[in-house]
Symmetry: C2
Subunit: 414 residues, 2 copies
Amino acid sequence: MNCEVIAVGTELLLGQIVDTNSSYIGEQLALAGIDSHFQTKVGDNAARMKSSVELALSRSDAVILCGGLGPTQDDITRNVIADVMGVELETRQDLVDKISAMFSQRGRQMPQNNLLQAQIPVGGEPIPVQPGTAPGLCCPIGDKVIYAVPGVPWEMTKMIDEFVLPDLRERAGITSVIASRVLRTWGASESGLAETLADEIVRLDETGEATIAFLASGIEGLKVRITAKAASQAEVDAKLAAEEAQVRSIIGDDLIFGIDDDTMETVVVDLCRQQGLKLGAAESLTGGLIGQRITAHPGVSDVFQGSIVSYADSVKAQVLDTGDAAAISDEGAKAMAIGAAKALGADCTVAVTGVAGPAPAGGYKPGTVFMATYVDGVAETLMVEWPFDRKRTREFTTITVLNQLRKRLMARSV
Amino acid sequence: MNCEVIAVGTELLLGQIVDTNSSYIGEQLALAGIDSHFQTKVGDNAARMKSSVELALSRSDAVILCGGLGPTQDDITRNVIADVMGVELETRQDLVDKISAMFSQRGRQMPQNNLLQAQIPVGGEPIPVQPGTAPGLCCPIGDKVIYAVPGVPWEMTKMIDEFVLPDLRERAGITSVIASRVLRTWGASESGLAETLADEIVRLDETGEATIAFLASGIEGLKVRITAKAASQAEVDAKLAAEEAQVRSIIGDDLIFGIDDDTMETVVVDLCRQQGLKLGAAESLTGGLIGQRITAHPGVSDVFQGSIVSYADSVKAQVLDTGDAAAISDEGAKAMAIGAAKALGADCTVAVTGVAGPAPAGGYKPGTVFMATYVDGVAETLMVEWPFDRKRTREFTTITVLNQLRKRLMARSV
């Protein structure tokens, strides 16, 4: 079974919107065990949409059209599918009722245009999962199938996850369960991890127990994804647990800061919460990025006190009381960490100073960074020379200094 | 003249990397006056790449292949193009010399693999612009043309801008110059601006003097792009200047914070620099986002003092000396702005507090935000109830409070 993705919208061709929908669908198809060999972007043009759908049907078993299900004149995905199927559109009263109910729930009257969304090619069915006003479509054509989902990401993902993927797997006769677990790591390079795991990857190739893939994800760290397939959820869970244990025993727990949706920030905040510690930061080089990352997650205010963004040396001296320590130095980072704990009333802190670039500063080349962590009255430091641009220097510094604190908190809780 | 884009790489189909290259190329083609009706993603598979290229050549005048020019076994774009052309690959000694010189400049020896990059289909030519080790290709086939550029974004953009677009325009006989100017706005909705400019857009449709497009860009504001075409650069510049003046007269200068690559942060920093003012911030709701945005730009340290991220109420009280003011209130924001000026030694500040969500807090629903600006000893406040999620609430608050300060600084400089 293979399935193509066609993203519909002139704005995609014009580069006004980046097509992240196809990437999401491609990733989910791969995880569901379904091949996807081509993905196409096409504008809101009936003839070109039709030729794209016909081509896709000629070389694949299924096609997912994404976009063009809105209520305006531009939205012609319904019409094109009917044309390809050689049928008419019919207005479905159940959809009219559903859509108008959505409007009345919001205290609004349904514009006449939205009636277009209740039209379905004869022989097709609306996708029963419908998060917004646009119904998705599931249209069999011969022994193949065309799906249409809205271009709005949260509507698209829900329909793909809850209807399209299970439906495709059923059509493909895939009864096995495929699942994956992501080990979130920091501290080793992709090639380094691949080398460490080389024998295990060969072993998995031979046994087929699971697969391992690496994904470098910047400030989110380096992800190691374990994927396994089995007859039942219980079996696949057992396989994943076994392989996770295997990978942990090879690369060591130290590198792994979390799994799946964990982030370095949430892991550090959780450790602080468990240990009854208040967290703070002092940022020069990162300019607020550490605080911004931590507070991007809701519910951290019981742990996170705040951050002193001390961009000017005078702020380091006056708010953080860094005294004689040079602004860009090991001693400077240490003094910032201690000063932040005091100013913010925090039990543990991270602090960073350095040269983000592109120009050198304080006698150091761009990428030179001094970091400090502070807990239990002790400040520890780390110096790194990143070979990166300004943005990556700031991002890599953020995850690295939080990882330093994580390791200290882990050691503390043993 | 129309031109398709084919992005090559299995990692694109698997969703491990989002294809931003095609979006960039699509945007540049549109700006250069060249239509692009289809964009395709295909994996590193010779047969499927070949069928994609042949299909593209059958319906378009030109094809840009992006990716697959590296030195590994997976990189087969060269081979596929030679196959489509029905020719062999030949090793070009000038490219061997160029690539090995690049390695020796970095003090490294060229791996044998990189010799593959010196191979060119007979009848094709390397693209003379070559920022990295991978040469691009320009391969005529009949009266059509295939270009190949690397998937590395900075190499791709340079080749597209400096060679592919001019070459395509020459082939298309386009001698006119197309250019655009982006007016960066904040304070009006897309539909609101479209309505205000409706008559002007109709007038432009009739006269063809220029076109106007809107692009909502989150924390970057709402962009209004004016595009014009003329016989020479001087003429197109004049047209853009005339239309910019026209648009400014209709929507008012107040909404327009900058042009092209300006950002709200750089505009505020520049105003502060011109007026000899030191800038600071106090952030609760945004958690460091304001500081992070300002310091994302190099060279702001002569103006930006820092930010006090006062997530805990105790930090508001102790570092910002907010006294009895409620943490989430108009008075609270005002006290934060004044306190930040004092703590940071800043002449002007912005401050934000509120409820980022998803849960309500302090008796306010999510999205409720209190902002303050402080300059010349006077704090002014603004309250907004955003209908957004946590992320957008924080982003829209950041650009809004900086815009408030911008307007005050503008008024001050008159």
